[in-house]
Amino acid sequence: MRSSIRRRLSGPAAMGAVLMAASPAIALPTVVSINLCADQLALALADRAQILAIGPLAADPALSAMHGEAAGMPTVRGTAEEVLRLAPDLVLSGAHQQRKTNALLERMGFRVMALPSPDDVEGVARMTVAVAEALGHGPRGRRLAAEMRAAFRVPAGPPTASALVWRPNGFVSGRGTLSDAGLAAAGLDNAAARAGIGAWGTMPLERLVARPPDLLLLEDYMAEKSSRAQALLVHPALARLSPPMRVAAVPTADWLCPGPWMAGAVGRLRDLAAEGRG
Protein backbone atom coordinates (compact mmCIF):
# COMPACT_ATOMS: atom_id res chain seq x y z
CA MET A 1 0.00 0.00 0.00
CA ARG A 2 2.77 2.31 0.99
CA SER A 3 4.63 1.64 -2.26
CA SER A 4 1.61 2.50 -4.37
CA ILE A 5 1.17 5.73 -2.46
CA ARG A 6 4.82 6.54 -3.02
CA ARG A 7 4.57 5.85 -6.71
CA ARG A 8 1.52 8.03 -7.00
CA LEU A 9 3.30 10.81 -5.14
CA SER A 10 6.50 10.66 -7.16
CA GLY A 11 5.42 13.46 -9.51
CA PRO A 12 4.52 16.00 -6.84
CA ALA A 13 7.45 14.84 -4.71
CA ALA A 14 9.86 15.59 -7.54
CA MET A 15 8.31 19.02 -7.85
CA GLY A 16 8.72 19.45 -4.12
CA ALA A 17 12.43 18.85 -4.48
CA VAL A 18 12.64 21.69 -6.97
CA LEU A 19 10.65 24.00 -4.72
CA MET A 20 12.75 23.07 -1.74
CA ALA A 21 15.86 24.61 -3.27
CA ALA A 22 13.99 27.89 -3.53
CA SER A 23 12.28 28.02 -0.15
CA PRO A 24 13.92 26.36 2.85
CA ALA A 25 10.63 26.53 4.74
CA ILE A 26 9.50 23.26 3.15
CA ALA A 27 10.31 20.26 5.37
CA LEU A 28 13.67 18.65 4.64
CA PRO A 29 13.70 14.95 3.73
CA THR A 30 14.02 12.50 6.59
CA VAL A 31 16.74 9.86 6.42
CA VAL A 32 17.60 6.45 7.84
CA SER A 33 21.16 5.21 7.43
CA ILE A 34 21.99 1.50 7.61
CA ASN A 35 25.74 1.49 6.95
CA LEU A 36 28.64 2.75 9.08
CA CYS A 37 30.08 5.01 6.38
CA ALA A 38 26.66 6.29 5.35
CA ASP A 39 25.88 6.99 9.03
CA GLN A 40 28.81 9.35 9.23
CA LEU A 41 27.86 11.16 6.03
CA ALA A 42 24.32 11.58 7.30
CA LEU A 43 25.60 12.96 10.61
CA ALA A 44 27.99 15.30 8.81
CA LEU A 45 25.47 16.63 6.30
CA ALA A 46 21.92 16.41 7.64
CA ASP A 47 20.22 18.35 10.41
CA ARG A 48 19.81 16.26 13.51
CA ALA A 49 16.03 16.39 13.19
CA GLN A 50 16.19 14.87 9.71
CA ILE A 51 17.91 11.69 10.91
CA LEU A 52 15.39 9.12 12.11
CA ALA A 53 17.95 6.41 12.85
CA ILE A 54 21.52 5.28 12.14
CA GLY A 55 23.49 2.06 12.47
CA PRO A 56 24.86 0.82 15.82
CA LEU A 57 28.55 1.35 15.00
CA ALA A 58 28.43 5.09 14.34
CA ALA A 59 28.73 5.88 18.05
CA ASP A 60 31.91 3.79 18.43
CA PRO A 61 34.84 6.19 18.82
CA ALA A 62 37.24 3.56 17.47
CA LEU A 63 35.41 3.30 14.16
CA SER A 64 33.48 6.51 13.59
CA ALA A 65 34.77 10.02 13.16
CA MET A 66 31.27 11.31 13.94
CA HIS A 67 30.87 9.36 17.20
CA GLY A 68 30.18 12.51 19.18
CA GLU A 69 27.29 13.48 16.92
CA ALA A 70 26.04 9.89 16.94
CA ALA A 71 25.70 9.73 20.71
CA GLY A 72 22.10 9.34 21.74
CA MET A 73 20.75 8.85 18.22
CA PRO A 74 18.24 6.03 17.74
CA THR A 75 19.90 3.02 16.13
CA VAL A 76 18.65 0.24 13.88
CA ARG A 77 20.17 -3.09 12.89
CA GLY A 78 19.67 -2.16 9.27
CA THR A 79 16.83 -4.45 8.22
CA ALA A 80 14.20 -3.51 5.65
CA GLU A 81 11.52 -3.96 8.28
CA GLU A 82 12.95 -1.26 10.53
CA VAL A 83 13.23 1.11 7.59
CA LEU A 84 9.63 0.42 6.64
CA ARG A 85 8.53 1.23 10.19
CA LEU A 86 10.40 4.55 10.20
CA ALA A 87 9.30 5.37 6.62
CA PRO A 88 12.07 7.86 5.80
CA ASP A 89 12.17 9.90 2.59
CA LEU A 90 15.71 8.68 1.91
CA VAL A 91 17.66 5.56 2.85
CA LEU A 92 21.45 5.83 2.94
CA SER A 93 23.13 2.47 2.55
CA GLY A 94 26.26 0.70 1.37
CA ALA A 95 26.71 -1.00 -1.97
CA HIS A 96 28.04 -4.29 -0.65
CA GLN A 97 26.71 -5.88 2.49
CA GLN A 98 23.29 -4.22 2.24
CA ARG A 99 22.75 -5.39 -1.35
CA LYS A 100 19.66 -7.51 -0.64
CA THR A 101 18.18 -4.94 1.72
CA ASN A 102 18.65 -2.17 -0.87
CA ALA A 103 16.92 -4.21 -3.57
CA LEU A 104 14.00 -5.00 -1.29
CA LEU A 105 13.58 -1.39 -0.18
CA GLU A 106 13.73 -0.09 -3.75
CA ARG A 107 11.14 -2.65 -4.70
CA MET A 108 8.90 -1.23 -1.99
CA GLY A 109 9.25 2.26 -3.40
CA PHE A 110 11.86 3.75 -1.09
CA ARG A 111 14.56 6.04 -2.40
CA VAL A 112 17.82 4.25 -1.60
CA MET A 113 21.26 5.78 -2.08
CA ALA A 114 23.79 2.93 -2.03
CA LEU A 115 27.07 4.71 -1.42
CA PRO A 116 30.12 3.62 -3.40
CA SER A 117 33.54 3.34 -1.78
CA PRO A 118 35.47 5.87 -3.88
CA ASP A 119 39.23 5.58 -3.92
CA ASP A 120 40.12 9.13 -4.85
CA VAL A 121 39.46 12.52 -3.29
CA GLU A 122 37.38 13.70 -6.24
CA GLY A 123 35.11 10.67 -5.87
CA VAL A 124 34.63 11.36 -2.15
CA ALA A 125 33.88 15.01 -2.89
CA ARG A 126 31.30 14.08 -5.53
CA MET A 127 29.67 11.56 -3.18
CA THR A 128 29.55 14.12 -0.39
CA VAL A 129 27.84 16.67 -2.62
CA ALA A 130 25.39 14.10 -4.01
CA VAL A 131 24.33 12.97 -0.53
CA ALA A 132 24.12 16.57 0.67
CA GLU A 133 21.84 17.49 -2.23
CA ALA A 134 19.62 14.48 -1.55
CA LEU A 135 19.36 15.67 2.05
CA GLY A 136 18.46 19.20 0.96
CA HIS A 137 21.80 20.64 2.10
CA GLY A 138 23.63 21.20 -1.19
CA PRO A 139 25.57 24.30 0.01
CA ARG A 140 26.73 22.49 3.17
CA GLY A 141 27.95 19.56 1.08
CA ARG A 142 29.78 21.77 -1.41
CA ARG A 143 31.47 23.63 1.43
CA LEU A 144 32.64 20.41 3.12
CA ALA A 145 33.78 19.00 -0.23
CA ALA A 146 35.77 22.16 -0.95
CA GLU A 147 37.37 22.04 2.51
CA MET A 148 38.31 18.43 1.96
CA ARG A 149 39.79 19.13 -1.49
CA ALA A 150 41.82 21.90 0.08
CA ALA A 151 43.05 19.62 2.88
CA PHE A 152 44.22 17.07 0.31
CA ARG A 153 46.11 19.61 -1.80
CA VAL A 154 49.64 18.33 -2.35
CA PRO A 155 52.31 20.79 -1.13
CA ALA A 156 54.98 22.03 -3.49
CA GLY A 157 58.44 20.53 -3.24
CA PRO A 158 59.70 16.97 -2.90
CA PRO A 159 58.42 14.64 -0.16
CA THR A 160 60.19 15.11 3.17
CA ALA A 161 60.16 11.47 4.28
CA SER A 162 58.90 8.05 3.33
CA ALA A 163 56.01 6.46 5.16
CA LEU A 164 54.16 3.18 5.08
CA VAL A 165 50.58 2.60 6.21
CA TRP A 166 50.67 -0.79 7.88
CA ARG A 167 47.37 -2.49 8.62
CA PRO A 168 46.67 -5.86 10.31
CA ASN A 169 48.32 -8.83 8.59
CA GLY A 170 50.66 -6.69 6.56
CA PHE A 171 48.02 -5.00 4.43
CA VAL A 172 49.26 -1.72 3.03
CA SER A 173 47.69 1.04 0.98
CA GLY A 174 49.41 1.40 -2.37
CA ARG A 175 49.01 3.69 -5.35
CA GLY A 176 45.60 5.17 -6.07
CA THR A 177 44.10 4.92 -2.60
CA LEU A 178 42.78 7.60 -0.30
CA SER A 179 45.57 6.83 2.16
CA ASP A 180 48.06 7.41 -0.66
CA ALA A 181 46.44 10.79 -1.36
CA GLY A 182 46.59 11.62 2.36
CA LEU A 183 50.29 10.81 2.55
CA ALA A 184 51.01 12.92 -0.54
CA ALA A 185 49.06 15.85 0.97
CA ALA A 186 51.21 15.61 4.10
CA GLY A 187 54.38 15.71 2.00
CA LEU A 188 55.15 12.06 2.64
CA ASP A 189 56.32 9.52 0.10
CA ASN A 190 54.17 6.36 0.13
CA ALA A 191 56.63 3.48 0.45
CA ALA A 192 53.97 0.98 -0.62
CA ALA A 193 53.34 2.81 -3.89
CA ARG A 194 57.11 3.05 -4.39
CA ALA A 195 57.32 -0.73 -3.91
CA GLY A 196 54.92 -1.11 -6.81
CA ILE A 197 51.92 -2.14 -4.74
CA GLY A 198 48.56 -1.36 -6.30
CA ALA A 199 45.46 -0.29 -4.47
CA TRP A 200 45.33 -2.98 -1.85
CA GLY A 201 48.14 -5.40 -1.19
CA THR A 202 50.42 -6.88 1.39
CA MET A 203 54.01 -6.03 2.16
CA PRO A 204 56.16 -8.98 3.22
CA LEU A 205 58.00 -8.42 6.48
CA GLU A 206 61.27 -9.18 4.69
CA ARG A 207 60.85 -6.30 2.30
CA LEU A 208 59.91 -4.00 5.15
CA VAL A 209 63.10 -4.92 6.98
CA ALA A 210 65.23 -4.63 3.85
CA ARG A 211 63.99 -1.14 3.00
CA PRO A 212 62.36 0.36 6.09
CA PRO A 213 60.39 3.59 5.62
CA ASP A 214 61.20 6.60 7.80
CA LEU A 215 57.77 6.40 9.36
CA LEU A 216 55.56 3.37 9.95
CA LEU A 217 51.92 4.32 10.37
CA LEU A 218 49.57 2.09 12.31
CA GLU A 219 45.89 2.41 12.88
CA ASP A 220 45.28 3.29 16.51
CA TYR A 221 42.74 0.49 16.60
CA MET A 222 45.56 -1.88 15.81
CA ALA A 223 48.04 -0.23 18.12
CA GLU A 224 45.69 -0.64 21.09
CA LYS A 225 44.15 -4.03 20.54
CA SER A 226 46.54 -6.91 20.77
CA SER A 227 46.37 -9.12 17.76
CA ARG A 228 48.53 -11.34 15.67
CA ALA A 229 49.16 -8.42 13.39
CA GLN A 230 50.66 -6.52 16.26
CA ALA A 231 52.80 -9.52 17.10
CA LEU A 232 54.18 -9.20 13.59
CA LEU A 233 55.02 -5.60 14.32
CA VAL A 234 57.05 -6.38 17.39
CA HIS A 235 59.00 -8.91 15.38
CA PRO A 236 62.63 -8.93 16.55
CA ALA A 237 63.73 -8.07 13.02
CA LEU A 238 61.90 -4.75 13.25
CA ALA A 239 63.13 -4.06 16.75
CA ARG A 240 66.74 -4.47 15.60
CA LEU A 241 66.56 -1.92 12.82
CA SER A 242 69.15 0.77 13.08
CA PRO A 243 68.40 3.61 13.13
CA PRO A 244 65.10 2.57 14.69
CA MET A 245 62.03 3.16 12.55
CA ARG A 246 59.59 5.79 13.76
CA VAL A 247 56.21 4.26 14.53
CA ALA A 248 53.08 6.37 14.96
CA ALA A 249 49.35 5.83 14.93
CA VAL A 250 46.58 7.53 12.99
CA PRO A 251 43.05 7.27 14.40
CA THR A 252 41.29 4.51 12.45
CA ALA A 253 38.02 6.40 12.61
CA ASP A 254 39.51 9.30 10.65
CA TRP A 255 40.09 7.28 7.49
CA LEU A 256 38.16 4.05 7.79
CA CYS A 257 35.27 5.54 5.81
CA PRO A 258 35.60 7.94 2.90
CA GLY A 259 34.20 11.36 3.76
CA PRO A 260 35.04 14.96 4.59
CA TRP A 261 36.34 13.95 8.05
CA MET A 262 39.40 12.47 6.35
CA ALA A 263 40.83 15.98 6.53
CA GLY A 264 41.49 15.05 10.17
CA ALA A 265 43.70 12.16 9.11
CA VAL A 266 45.62 14.47 6.74
CA GLY A 267 46.15 16.93 9.60
CA ARG A 268 47.52 14.18 11.79
CA LEU A 269 49.86 13.06 8.98
CA ARG A 270 51.10 16.65 8.51
CA ASP A 271 51.88 16.87 12.24
CA LEU A 272 53.79 13.60 12.10
CA ALA A 273 55.73 14.76 9.04
CA ALA A 274 56.61 18.01 10.83
CA GLU A 275 57.77 16.13 13.95
CA GLY A 276 60.04 14.04 11.74
CA ARG A 277 61.68 17.15 10.33
CA GLY A 278 62.05 18.84 13.71
Binding site: R2, R77, T79, R85, A95, H96, K100, M108
Partner: protein, 320 residues
Protein backbone atom coordinates in the same frame (compact mmCIF):
# COMPACT_ATOMS: atom_id res chain seq x y z
CA UNK B 1 4.62 -38.29 13.24
CA UNK B 2 4.05 -36.46 9.94
CA UNK B 3 0.99 -34.75 11.40
CA UNK B 4 2.95 -33.69 14.47
CA UNK B 5 5.83 -32.33 12.42
CA UNK B 6 3.45 -30.50 10.09
CA UNK B 7 1.68 -28.90 13.03
CA UNK B 8 5.03 -27.88 14.54
CA UNK B 9 6.13 -26.40 11.21
CA UNK B 10 2.90 -24.44 10.91
CA UNK B 11 3.37 -23.09 14.43
CA UNK B 12 7.00 -22.19 13.71
CA UNK B 13 6.04 -20.46 10.46
CA UNK B 14 3.37 -18.41 12.23
CA UNK B 15 5.83 -17.48 14.96
CA UNK B 16 8.31 -16.46 12.26
CA UNK B 17 5.70 -14.26 10.58
CA UNK B 18 4.94 -12.68 13.94
CA UNK B 19 8.63 -12.04 14.73
CA UNK B 20 10.32 -8.91 13.52
CA UNK B 21 11.41 -5.38 14.19
CA UNK B 22 7.94 -3.88 14.01
CA UNK B 23 5.42 -5.06 16.59
CA UNK B 24 2.32 -6.31 14.80
CA UNK B 25 -0.85 -7.44 16.56
CA UNK B 26 -2.30 -10.68 15.18
CA UNK B 27 -5.33 -9.13 13.45
CA UNK B 28 -3.06 -6.75 11.53
CA UNK B 29 -0.66 -9.58 10.71
CA UNK B 30 -3.45 -11.75 9.31
CA UNK B 31 -4.91 -8.84 7.35
CA UNK B 32 -1.43 -8.06 6.07
CA UNK B 33 -1.01 -11.62 4.83
CA UNK B 34 -3.87 -10.97 2.45
CA UNK B 35 -2.51 -7.58 1.47
CA UNK B 36 -5.04 -5.71 3.57
CA UNK B 37 -4.43 -2.90 6.01
CA UNK B 38 -1.39 -0.92 7.00
CA UNK B 39 0.85 -3.95 7.45
CA UNK B 40 0.24 -5.33 3.95
CA UNK B 41 3.57 -4.39 2.34
CA UNK B 42 5.54 -5.34 5.46
CA UNK B 43 4.03 -8.80 5.73
CA UNK B 44 3.84 -9.57 2.01
CA UNK B 45 7.17 -8.11 0.90
CA UNK B 46 9.40 -8.77 3.91
CA UNK B 47 8.13 -11.34 6.39
CA UNK B 48 6.41 -13.76 4.04
CA UNK B 49 9.36 -14.18 1.62
CA UNK B 50 11.67 -14.55 4.59
CA UNK B 51 9.57 -17.25 6.21
CA UNK B 52 8.94 -19.05 2.92
CA UNK B 53 12.64 -19.12 2.12
CA UNK B 54 13.52 -20.38 5.61
CA UNK B 55 10.99 -23.20 5.13
CA UNK B 56 12.25 -24.01 1.64
CA UNK B 57 15.91 -23.92 2.57
CA UNK B 58 15.40 -26.02 5.70
CA UNK B 59 13.20 -28.58 3.95
CA UNK B 60 15.66 -28.85 1.09
CA UNK B 61 18.63 -29.39 3.38
CA UNK B 62 16.85 -31.95 5.59
CA UNK B 63 15.47 -33.86 2.62
CA UNK B 64 18.68 -34.01 0.64
CA UNK B 65 20.63 -34.97 3.77
CA UNK B 66 18.26 -37.91 4.35
CA UNK B 67 18.38 -38.97 0.69
CA UNK B 68 22.17 -38.82 0.54
CA UNK B 69 22.56 -40.72 3.80
CA UNK B 70 20.30 -43.38 2.30
CA UNK B 71 22.11 -43.45 -1.02
CA UNK B 72 25.59 -43.62 0.44
CA UNK B 73 24.45 -45.78 3.36
CA UNK B 74 26.56 -43.57 5.54
CA UNK B 75 25.15 -41.52 8.42
CA UNK B 76 27.81 -38.84 7.88
CA UNK B 77 26.62 -37.92 4.38
CA UNK B 78 25.10 -34.50 3.73
CA UNK B 79 24.84 -32.15 0.73
CA UNK B 80 28.41 -31.01 1.28
CA UNK B 81 29.78 -34.51 0.71
CA UNK B 82 28.86 -34.54 -2.98
CA UNK B 83 30.32 -31.08 -3.51
CA UNK B 84 26.98 -29.35 -4.17
CA UNK B 85 27.00 -26.84 -1.28
CA UNK B 86 30.56 -25.72 -1.84
CA UNK B 87 30.07 -25.33 -5.59
CA UNK B 88 26.85 -23.35 -5.23
CA UNK B 89 28.65 -21.16 -2.70
CA UNK B 90 31.51 -20.70 -5.16
CA UNK B 91 29.06 -19.70 -7.90
CA UNK B 92 27.52 -17.02 -5.68
CA UNK B 93 30.88 -15.73 -4.49
CA UNK B 94 32.06 -15.42 -8.10
CA UNK B 95 28.93 -13.43 -8.99
CA UNK B 96 29.78 -11.07 -6.13
CA UNK B 97 33.49 -11.01 -6.93
CA UNK B 98 33.10 -10.08 -10.60
CA UNK B 99 30.41 -7.52 -9.85
CA UNK B 100 27.74 -9.41 -11.82
CA UNK B 101 25.44 -9.32 -8.81
CA UNK B 102 25.73 -5.54 -8.69
CA UNK B 103 25.05 -5.11 -12.41
CA UNK B 104 22.11 -7.53 -12.58
CA UNK B 105 20.68 -8.88 -9.29
CA UNK B 106 19.39 -12.24 -10.66
CA UNK B 107 23.02 -13.08 -11.50
CA UNK B 108 23.62 -13.97 -7.85
CA UNK B 109 21.10 -16.85 -7.60
CA UNK B 110 21.66 -17.94 -11.20
CA UNK B 111 25.41 -18.17 -10.75
CA UNK B 112 24.95 -20.20 -7.55
CA UNK B 113 22.63 -22.60 -9.33
CA UNK B 114 25.05 -22.89 -12.23
CA UNK B 115 27.78 -23.81 -9.75
CA UNK B 116 25.61 -26.53 -8.23
CA UNK B 117 24.65 -27.89 -11.65
CA UNK B 118 28.21 -27.97 -12.85
CA UNK B 119 29.25 -29.78 -9.67
CA UNK B 120 26.56 -32.42 -10.14
CA UNK B 121 27.62 -33.05 -13.74
CA UNK B 122 31.27 -33.22 -12.73
CA UNK B 123 30.66 -35.55 -9.80
CA UNK B 124 28.52 -37.92 -11.84
CA UNK B 125 31.00 -37.92 -14.70
CA UNK B 126 33.93 -38.52 -12.37
CA UNK B 127 32.10 -41.26 -10.49
CA UNK B 128 31.40 -43.02 -13.78
CA UNK B 129 28.33 -44.89 -14.90
CA UNK B 130 26.84 -47.29 -12.37
CA UNK B 131 30.07 -47.16 -10.41
CA UNK B 132 30.07 -47.81 -6.68
CA UNK B 133 29.18 -45.30 -4.00
CA UNK B 134 32.80 -44.99 -2.92
CA UNK B 135 33.79 -43.39 -6.20
CA UNK B 136 30.80 -41.02 -5.88
CA UNK B 137 32.00 -39.88 -2.46
CA UNK B 138 35.57 -39.51 -3.68
CA UNK B 139 34.45 -37.48 -6.68
CA UNK B 140 32.28 -35.35 -4.38
CA UNK B 141 35.14 -34.69 -1.99
CA UNK B 142 37.41 -33.77 -4.91
CA UNK B 143 34.89 -31.33 -6.42
CA UNK B 144 34.11 -29.91 -2.98
CA UNK B 145 37.77 -29.31 -2.18
CA UNK B 146 38.31 -27.61 -5.50
CA UNK B 147 35.28 -25.35 -5.01
CA UNK B 148 36.45 -24.45 -1.49
CA UNK B 149 39.91 -23.69 -2.84
CA UNK B 150 38.54 -21.39 -5.57
CA UNK B 151 36.28 -19.68 -3.04
CA UNK B 152 39.28 -19.07 -0.82
CA UNK B 153 41.13 -17.69 -3.84
CA UNK B 154 38.32 -15.23 -4.57
CA UNK B 155 38.30 -14.13 -0.91
CA UNK B 156 42.07 -13.76 -0.96
CA UNK B 157 42.01 -11.65 -4.12
CA UNK B 158 39.08 -9.49 -2.96
CA UNK B 159 39.54 -5.96 -4.34
CA UNK B 160 38.76 -4.27 -1.03
CA UNK B 161 37.69 -5.05 2.55
CA UNK B 162 34.04 -4.28 1.79
CA UNK B 163 33.88 -6.81 -1.02
CA UNK B 164 35.64 -9.32 1.20
CA UNK B 165 33.18 -8.94 4.05
CA UNK B 166 30.25 -9.17 1.64
CA UNK B 167 31.47 -12.52 0.30
CA UNK B 168 32.34 -13.83 3.76
CA UNK B 169 28.94 -12.91 5.18
CA UNK B 170 27.23 -14.45 2.18
CA UNK B 171 28.94 -17.75 2.94
CA UNK B 172 27.61 -17.66 6.52
CA UNK B 173 24.04 -17.90 5.27
CA UNK B 174 21.00 -15.73 5.93
CA UNK B 175 17.44 -15.15 4.70
CA UNK B 176 17.38 -11.55 5.89
CA UNK B 177 15.63 -9.04 3.64
CA UNK B 178 15.07 -11.43 0.76
CA UNK B 179 12.32 -10.43 -1.64
CA UNK B 180 9.56 -12.27 -3.44
CA UNK B 181 11.89 -12.44 -6.46
CA UNK B 182 14.23 -14.64 -4.47
CA UNK B 183 11.35 -16.96 -3.65
CA UNK B 184 10.38 -17.04 -7.32
CA UNK B 185 13.90 -17.98 -8.42
CA UNK B 186 14.39 -20.65 -5.81
CA UNK B 187 11.01 -22.28 -5.22
CA UNK B 188 10.52 -24.05 -8.59
CA UNK B 189 13.96 -25.63 -8.44
CA UNK B 190 13.54 -26.59 -4.78
CA UNK B 191 10.20 -28.24 -5.56
CA UNK B 192 11.51 -30.04 -8.65
CA UNK B 193 14.64 -31.24 -6.86
CA UNK B 194 12.62 -32.24 -3.80
CA UNK B 195 10.22 -34.25 -5.94
CA UNK B 196 13.13 -36.08 -7.56
CA UNK B 197 14.53 -36.95 -4.15
CA UNK B 198 11.16 -38.10 -2.78
CA UNK B 199 10.59 -40.26 -5.85
CA UNK B 200 13.84 -42.09 -5.12
CA UNK B 201 12.58 -43.40 -1.77
CA UNK B 202 11.80 -46.94 -2.87
CA UNK B 203 15.13 -47.35 -4.57
CA UNK B 204 16.83 -46.18 -1.39
CA UNK B 205 14.95 -48.81 0.62
CA UNK B 206 16.18 -51.52 -1.71
CA UNK B 207 19.66 -50.07 -1.60
CA UNK B 208 19.74 -50.38 2.19
CA UNK B 209 20.04 -54.14 1.58
CA UNK B 210 23.24 -53.61 -0.39
CA UNK B 211 24.04 -52.56 -3.92
CA UNK B 212 23.95 -56.08 -5.37
CA UNK B 213 20.70 -57.05 -3.69
CA UNK B 214 19.15 -53.79 -4.86
CA UNK B 215 20.28 -54.50 -8.41
CA UNK B 216 18.77 -57.98 -8.22
CA UNK B 217 15.51 -56.38 -7.02
CA UNK B 218 15.43 -54.40 -10.25
CA UNK B 219 16.79 -51.08 -8.93
CA UNK B 220 19.15 -49.45 -11.39
CA UNK B 221 21.70 -48.17 -8.94
CA UNK B 222 23.44 -45.88 -11.44
CA UNK B 223 20.20 -44.13 -12.28
CA UNK B 224 19.17 -43.83 -8.65
CA UNK B 225 22.56 -42.27 -7.93
CA UNK B 226 22.19 -39.80 -10.79
CA UNK B 227 18.66 -38.90 -9.66
CA UNK B 228 19.65 -38.23 -6.07
CA UNK B 229 22.68 -36.17 -7.06
CA UNK B 230 20.70 -34.18 -9.63
CA UNK B 231 17.82 -33.63 -7.20
CA UNK B 232 20.24 -32.44 -4.54
CA UNK B 233 21.91 -30.12 -7.03
CA UNK B 234 18.60 -28.53 -8.01
CA UNK B 235 17.21 -28.19 -4.51
CA UNK B 236 20.34 -27.38 -2.50
CA UNK B 237 21.80 -25.31 -5.34
CA UNK B 238 18.70 -23.14 -5.27
CA UNK B 239 18.80 -22.91 -1.48
CA UNK B 240 22.46 -21.89 -1.29
CA UNK B 241 22.14 -19.41 -4.14
CA UNK B 242 19.47 -17.38 -2.35
CA UNK B 243 20.42 -17.93 1.29
CA UNK B 244 24.14 -18.78 1.34
CA UNK B 245 25.58 -21.85 3.03
CA UNK B 246 23.78 -23.21 6.07
CA UNK B 247 25.49 -26.20 7.58
CA UNK B 248 24.58 -29.07 9.89
CA UNK B 249 20.87 -29.18 9.05
CA UNK B 250 21.31 -31.91 6.44
CA UNK B 251 23.54 -33.88 8.79
CA UNK B 252 21.71 -33.63 12.10
CA UNK B 253 18.04 -33.76 11.12
CA UNK B 254 18.02 -37.25 9.56
CA UNK B 255 19.96 -38.52 12.59
CA UNK B 256 17.35 -37.22 14.95
CA UNK B 257 14.51 -38.86 13.09
CA UNK B 258 16.05 -42.16 12.02
CA UNK B 259 15.06 -44.11 15.16
CA UNK B 260 11.49 -42.82 14.76
CA UNK B 261 11.30 -44.04 11.16
CA UNK B 262 12.32 -47.63 11.86
CA UNK B 263 15.53 -47.00 9.94
CA UNK B 264 13.79 -47.11 6.55
CA UNK B 265 15.34 -44.55 4.21
CA UNK B 266 12.10 -43.86 2.33
CA UNK B 267 10.15 -43.23 5.54
CA UNK B 268 12.83 -40.78 6.61
CA UNK B 269 12.59 -38.43 3.63
CA UNK B 270 9.44 -36.42 4.25
CA UNK B 271 9.91 -36.12 8.04
CA UNK B 272 13.47 -34.89 7.46
CA UNK B 273 12.17 -32.21 5.11
CA UNK B 274 9.64 -31.05 7.69
CA UNK B 275 12.09 -31.14 10.58
CA UNK B 276 14.75 -29.35 8.55
CA UNK B 277 12.25 -26.61 7.80
CA UNK B 278 11.31 -26.33 11.49
CA UNK B 279 14.97 -26.10 12.49
CA UNK B 280 15.84 -23.32 10.02
CA UNK B 281 12.65 -21.35 10.72
CA UNK B 282 13.38 -21.58 14.45
CA UNK B 283 16.98 -20.49 13.90
CA UNK B 284 15.75 -17.56 11.83
CA UNK B 285 13.41 -16.52 14.64
CA UNK B 286 16.32 -16.75 17.05
CA UNK B 287 18.62 -14.49 15.02
CA UNK B 288 15.94 -11.80 15.04
CA UNK B 289 15.42 -12.05 18.79
CA UNK B 290 19.05 -12.19 19.94
CA UNK B 291 19.99 -8.53 20.46
CA UNK B 292 23.32 -8.39 18.66
CA UNK B 293 24.44 -5.22 16.87
CA UNK B 294 23.92 -6.86 13.50
CA UNK B 295 21.83 -9.95 12.94
CA UNK B 296 23.60 -13.26 13.48
CA UNK B 297 23.85 -15.37 10.36
CA UNK B 298 21.85 -18.57 10.05
CA UNK B 299 24.84 -20.76 9.30
CA UNK B 300 26.43 -19.58 12.54
CA UNK B 301 23.38 -20.48 14.61
CA UNK B 302 22.80 -23.88 13.00
CA UNK B 303 26.47 -24.75 13.48
CA UNK B 304 26.48 -23.51 17.09
CA UNK B 305 23.38 -25.55 17.91
CA UNK B 306 24.14 -28.46 15.61
CA UNK B 307 27.74 -29.25 16.46
CA UNK B 308 27.38 -29.84 20.23
CA UNK B 309 24.19 -31.76 19.59
CA UNK B 310 25.93 -33.95 17.07
CA UNK B 311 28.81 -34.58 19.47
CA UNK B 312 26.37 -35.58 22.20
CA UNK B 313 24.67 -37.94 19.80
CA UNK B 314 27.93 -39.61 18.82
CA UNK B 315 28.94 -39.87 22.47
CA UNK B 316 25.69 -41.65 23.32
CA UNK B 317 26.03 -43.98 20.34
CA UNK B 318 29.57 -44.81 21.37
CA UNK B 319 28.51 -45.79 24.87
CA UNK B 320 25.37 -47.66 23.83
Amino acid sequence: MLAGLSAALLAAALASLATGYVPLPWPELVAGLFGQGRAGPLVQEIRLPRTLLAIGVGATLGLSGAALQGLLRNPLAEPGVVGISASAGLGSVLALYFGMAAAWPPALPLSGMAGAGLAAILVLALAGRAAGMLSLVLAGVAVSSFAVALTALALNLAPNPYALSEMLFWLLGSVRDRSRDDVLYAAPLMILGGAMLLAGGRGLDALSLGEETAASLGVRVGRLQARVVAGTALAVGAAVSVAGSIGFVGLVVPHLLRPLCRHRPSALLLPSALAGAILVVAADILVRLVPTAIELHLGVVTALVGAPFFLALLFRLGRG
